[in-house]
């Protein structure tokens, strides 16, 4: 249940000269609602969801909403990030398409041709488990170590592509965080299809990311050594990739940052962190989106905050969600999962009914 609490005003700051014009989509954690707000923070449209969203959501060009729903009684329902059902709703929240796989989790990416890539948990073969490093020894729950597969399904529900981490990922490079159990190896919480058709994947538990050559399944590069339980990978202009680096389980001050990396040099070419460093810290979730005017939209999930920053790292739009809810782990909070900005000319918005 969401309660709207009294906040002075949810929109804390805006600079109409620099903001990327459009609507922002977000969903409070575990709620069955998704909101589309304008730049003043007014709700212009909302969807009622049959299931809460597990992570990212997307508005399609026809105005439908696509997201991964969290099934409540599946075999993986007590795993963090569990999904289980891809759901498409029309503008009026009527379900128009769905695809079920109880082992899907976190993230999906909708391809231009309408097919959908998503991550799912598969059991790692016993012989592979022994060569996977890191984590706390002997903590595979029921002796199982789950690892990731990337699946592509078409609109008819046929699986047309499959990639398995244990067949391709270098076990010397993808090592489980020393503080975590060995119940999962990688946890692909974010996937993104590049312009050239390759797939970017962020692996949360191994503090790593990779680019996969789709046809061969080959891993073209691994990005390691910088991340700490990161989220939200995407390709940005110029062929770089960008991530929300949460900063959980580091030695020093916990802080989050957005990093943009050039895969040709593996160097960080742009980084956003707050000047008062520990104040921007989301140990959970988190998202980032590069906008058409070069700004970056940041979903500071843990703090219920969406921020837009310029390339010069100036905050020019800031919204704090006034929607509070209760969670068994995260208490009474206004956590939001993911945020996306869409311009008014996006075809999805043509001839639609709005709340005002």
């Amino acid at each position: 249940m969401i309660t709207k609490e009294k906040e002075p005003r949810p929109l804390l700051y805006r600079n109409p000269i620099r903001e990327f014009k459009g609507y922002t989509l977000f969903s409070p954690l575990e709620s069955k609602e998704a909101y589309l707000i304008d730049l003043k923070g007014r709700i212009a449209h909302k969807w009622s969801l049959p299931l809460a969203a597990s992570y990212n959501m997307e508005i399609l060009e026809n105005g439908n909403l696509l997201y991964m729903g969290k099934v409540e009684d599946g075999p993986m329902s007590d795993f963090e990030g569990c999904g289980g059902k891809l759901i498409e709703l029309d503008w009026d929240s009527n379900p128009v398409w769905e695809y079920t796989d109880p082992y899907m989790h976190h993230t999906f990416y909708r391809r231009r041709n309408g097919n959908i890539l998503f991550a799912k948990w598969v059991k790692t073969p016993d012989e592979a488990i022994n060569s996977i490093k890191g984590g706390i020894e002997g903590t595979e729950k029921d002796g199982i170590m789950w690892s990731d597969a990337i699946i592509e399904v078409d609109k008819y529900g046929y699986v047309v592509y499959q990639w398995k981490a244990y067949e391709h990922l270098d076990r010397e490079k993808h090592i489980i965080c020393p503080l975590d159990h060995r119940t999962e190896w990688t946890r692909a919480n974010s996937i993104y299809e590049k312009e050239n058709g390759n797939i970017l994947v962020n692996f949360m538990m191994t503090h790593s990311a990779a680019e996969i050559e789709k046809e061969t399944g080959k891993v073209l590069w691994d990005f390691t050594g910088e991340l700490a339980h990161a989220h939200s990978i995407s390709e940005v202009a110029g062929g770089n990739f960008m991530l929300f680096d949460n900063g959980l389980h580091t030695i020093y001050i916990g802080f989050s940052r957005i990093i943009e990396v050039d895969p040709r040099s593996m160097k960080i070419v742009w980084e956003y962190k707050e000047d008062s460093i520990a104040s921007f810290y989301s140990s959970i979730l988190g998202g980032c989106q590069r906008l058409g005017n070069g700004n970056t939209l940041i979903c500071d999930s843990s703090n219920g905050r969406i921020v837009e920053v310029t390339p010069e790292k100036e905050v020019i739009w800031e919204y704090v969600s006034p929607y509070y809810h209760d969670h068994n782990l995260y208490g009474h909070s206004n956590i939001i999962i993911d945020a996306k900005r869409y311009p008014p000319e996006y075809p999805a918005f043509k001839d639609k009914d709005w709340l005002f």
């Binding site: 804390l12 700051y13 963090e80 706390i136 903590t139 020393p178 503080l179 975590d180 159990h181 339980h229 959980l248 389980h249 580091t250 030695i251 020093y252 001050i253 916990g254 962190k273 707050e274 000047d275 008062s276 460093i277 520990a278 104040s279 921007f280 810290y281 140990s283 959970i284 500071d300 843990s302 703090n303 219920g304 905050r305 921020v307 905050v315 800031e318 704090v320 782990l329 995260y330 208490g331 009474h332 909070s333 206004n334 956590i335």
Partner: protein
């Protein structure tokens, strides 16, 4: 709530006059050369100025003097935050009344009831023990070969060492292992010492995640608790009724993928947690370093959330009755602690009738040029 929204909060943001302990708060913003006493409205009523940056500790003694270590520019062990070397006691007017130099001192300085002073000293352990020290990041010994533990050193007012407890001779290496995410160079990392009613010493050891009671007469480890419960804690204290309290910072919790801090009170005899303070949204209260928890005479708990510059007073029912955001920002110049920050190591609240205030006058008017900038109504 944190992030840019948080950094717009300054001064007193909550004050329940009936429930909060009326008194003055000692505030020493980290890495700055001063400490303030502020009143309940956030006005500065007294100021001390230091010649060098203090280490991670400043306390107002019952005699009204301020006790703190003054940092050397290059500490003995570079990786150990809180390393300070000159121990100073200054009076109300900033005059040094006692000084003791010890290049190995780090973190806390504790004045004992007998007038002596005890503090941790960083000590390299014999290399033949290295392989017996468990945990930590493999291969992260300093220069590939050094592991540092702690001794506790007691000096009399003349600076003579009268007691020394040697950590590596007393701590069972099978029990006191290092957190998997910490460097092996930093084995024990004692950051807090208090004197128990019977004269034993209660210490808090950050990297081995343990609160330990040491029998002063024999040097034996009499009691310990923490592993599996607390992570990288600070400011242990004895709160009466056979209970001890600490601020459980909480980073690096095993298999927990969210960071949150809490204050816990644990019973010595049963080793059970009898009281706990967590924010209603646990992840909204977190500080990886420093922090404090102080039990006040009215039963409330005074908590410092260091890296947010946030200080709160909570009732046993966990209601926040006073909240303050340190308005003073500065930069540390340290790569591991970047940015412009309002961090506070730990703040103390002293009631208006505290013995240290006897004969002292408080007049915010004396600091009105500061209070227009930092005090009540400035933000």
């Amino acid at each position: 709530m944190s992030g840019t929204a948080l950094t717009r909060k300054f001064g007193v943001t909550k004050y329940d006059k009936k429930k909060a302990l009326n008194g003055y708060t000692l505030l020493a913003p980290l890495w700055n050369k001063f400490a303030w006493l502020i009143d309940m409205e956030g006005n500065i009523v007294h100021k001390w100025t230091f010649n060098k940056r203090p280490g991670d500790f400043t306390e107002l003694l019952p005699n009204g003097n301020l006790l703190y270590p003054e940092r050397f520019p290059t500490p003995k062990v570079m990786f150990l935050g809180g390393c300070g070397c000159d121990l100073l006691e200054v009076n109300w007017d900033n005059k040094v009344v006692w000084k003791h130099i010890d290049g190995e001192q780090h973190h806390i300085v504790r004045r004992l009831r007998n007038g002596n002073t005890v503090y941790p000293v960083v000590k390299e352990i014999p290399h033949n023990l290295n392989s017996k020290v468990k945990g930590g990041i493999p291969g992260s010994e300093e220069n590939g070969q050094s592991i540092f533990g702690d001794n506790l050193r007691e000096v009399n007012p003349d600076g003579e060492i009268v007691w020394e407890w040697v950590g590596h001779e007393r701590l069972d290496l099978d029990v006191f292992s290092i957190c998997p995410m910490e460097p092996r160079a930093d084995w024990v990392h004692t950051n807090s010492i208090v004197e128990m009613p019977d004269g034993d010493l209660l210490i808090c050891c950050r990297n081995i995640d343990s609160l330990i009671i040491i029998d002063k007469k024999t040097g034996d480890v009499k009691w310990h608790w923490g592993k599996g419960h607390i992570k990288h804690a600070h400011m242990v204290s004895y709160v009466g009724d056979g209970n001890v309290m600490c601020y459980d910072n909480g980073p690096h919790r095993e298999n927990i993928l969210v960071d949150y801090s809490r204050v816990v009170i644990v019973n010595i005899e049963t080793k059970k947690i009898v009281w706990e303070y967590v924010d209603e949204a646990p992840q909204n209260h977190f500080s990886l370093i420093n922090c404090g928890a102080q039990k006040l005479p009215n039963g409330n708990i005074f908590i410092t959330e260091s890296t947010k510059g946030r200080i709160i007073e909570v009732t046993p029912e966990k209601e926040i009755v006073w909240e303050y955001y340190n308005p003073f920002y500065n930069t540390t110049g340290l790569e591991t602690q970047p940015g412009w920050n309002s961090w506070v190591h730990r703040a103390y609240r002293y009631p208006v009738d505290y013995s240290g205030f006897e004969g002292k006058e408080f007049n915010p008017v004396d600091y009105r040029e500061y209070n227009k900038i930092y005090g009540s109504g400035a933000f």
